[in-house]
């Protein structure tokens, strides 16, 4: 009987702890907002070339998704090779900036760490090529530098 009461009390405490935790308002996320023009001019072409293939980050199943010409179109009615629509640019920008959310800042964020080789400070990336090569060679890769300077707002735009 004592055991049953002890178990019941423990369950009650655990339940209230869980409910209490759920009741806490999550802190609002501070999503970085680097230049949308810099994204369109400099970053988006790199993402189209390196990430946005339909079976990769052109898939609507992926959180980080990039849409555009010659890749997956956000609106299937869009001509395959028509220029990127405003909607595609806006959505790709939002998904990309969301990938910059990280406790230690944008330079440590998934957008900048996942496409690097692990030995170059990368965080691991399932979608490396058939030779195990990450999308960028390292922090000295000009394409990565373009992403990084944009991400931290140092691209002058």
């Amino acid at each position: 009987m004592q055991l049953a009461r002890a178990v019941a009390a423990t369950v009650a405490m655990a339940t209230s702890a869980v409910l209490g935790a759920c009741a806490v308002e999550p802190a609002p996320l501070d999503v970085p907002s680097p230049s949308s023009q810099g994204f369109a001019d400099r970053v988006y072409p790199i993402l189209l070339a390196q990430c946005a293939f339909p079976a990769c980050h052109g898939s609507p199943d992926r959180f980080f998704a990039v849409y555009g010409p010659g890749r997956t179109r956000f609106d299937p009615a869009t001509e395959p090779y028509a220029p990127a629509t405003a909607e595609e640019l806006a959505l790709s920008y939002r998904r990309t900036t969301s990938m910059l959310v990280w406790p230690d800042g944008a330079r440590r964020s998934p957008l900048l760490r996942k496409p690097l080789p692990v030995e170059a400070g990368g965080a691991g990336h399932e979608g490396n090529d058939g030779w195990g090569q990450a999308p960028f060679t390292g922090e000295d890769d000009p394409r990565w530098i373009t992403l990084a300077t944009w991400a931290v707002g140092e691209d002058g735009l």
Binding site: P45, P54, A55, P69, G70, R71, G127, D129, G130
Partner: protein
């Protein structure tokens, strides 16, 4: 075929692949050199070569069980020797498109030329059909293309350079004719050959049906190893 006996033993590989398939708008080789903002590949040709490691599987998801036969690619090669490499497939199952390279580890082409095709290398397999095959030179690369117009083979000549390892890589898509992303069969082919007299490397034949192929293979191997350990313990 000019492969020397004992060294250039013809390699015949029959690759049977489980494949699913997803193609999207990005499938026209004419667009591979175009800027990405115009829907192009930005110079990617999706051969899966050492310097163009992405293959057709980044756009197409495998569906089906295509077979591809590779003949004439030697297990070891003699520098300066000419080899005739033939890839063939069953065109009655659907039109196949290929992007192919024979290259060094640095990505230089391996003395690649494209002889005039036999009827099987022409559209619809017809002696009067249009050429199904083409050769694009892009810097150090030579990319062999096969259009999806009903050909059933491509023959490529290779003048082997003096390199430790050479690679045959190809992205192969067999269309289901639906003009949709789904239903295409996909093959990523990678075969290596080593210079005669060099220590054996870890080369050989490899093929995957998509980017998930390797992790799945690793999982199967790990499970098999675990089972073997369980039985022996």
């Amino acid at each position: 075929m000019s492969a020397p006996s004992g060294l250039g033993r013809a390699v015949v590989l029959v690759l049977v692949l489980a494949a699913p398939g997803l193609a999207r708008a990005f499938s026209d080789p004419e667009r591979y050199d175009a800027p990405t903002l115009e829907g192009g590949g930005g110079g990617r040709h999706f051969t899966g070569s050492p310097i163009d490691g992405l293959s057709c599987a980044v756009c197409h998801r495998p569906a089906g069980r295509p077979e591809l036969t590779v003949e004439g690619f030697p297990t070891t090669f003699e520098p300066g020797q000419r080899y005739s490499v033939r890839l063939s497939w069953d065109a009655s199952l659907g039109s196949h498109a290929l992007q192919l390279e024979l290259s060094t580890s640095a990505g230089d082409h391996a003395g690649v030329t494209l002889p005039a095709p036999a009827p099987a290398g022409r559209c619809e397999g017809s002696a009067t059909g249009e050429l199904a095959t083409g050769l694009r030179t892009r810097g150090i690369r030579r990319i062999v293309e096969v259009s999806d117009c009903g050909a059933s083979e491509v023959v490529v000549e290779m003048l082997a350079p003096d390199e430790p390892v050479l690679y045959l890589t190809a992205g192969v898509v067999r269309s289901d004719g639906s003009a949709t992303p789904d239903g295409d069969a996909v093959l990523e082919l990678r075969v290596t050959t080593t210079r005669a007299g060099d220590p054996a490397s870890s080369g050989g034949c490899g093929a995957a049906t998509g980017t998930a192929g390797l992790p799945l293979a690793a999982l199967v191997m790990a499970l098999a190893l675990a089972e073997r350990r369980r039985r022996t313990s």
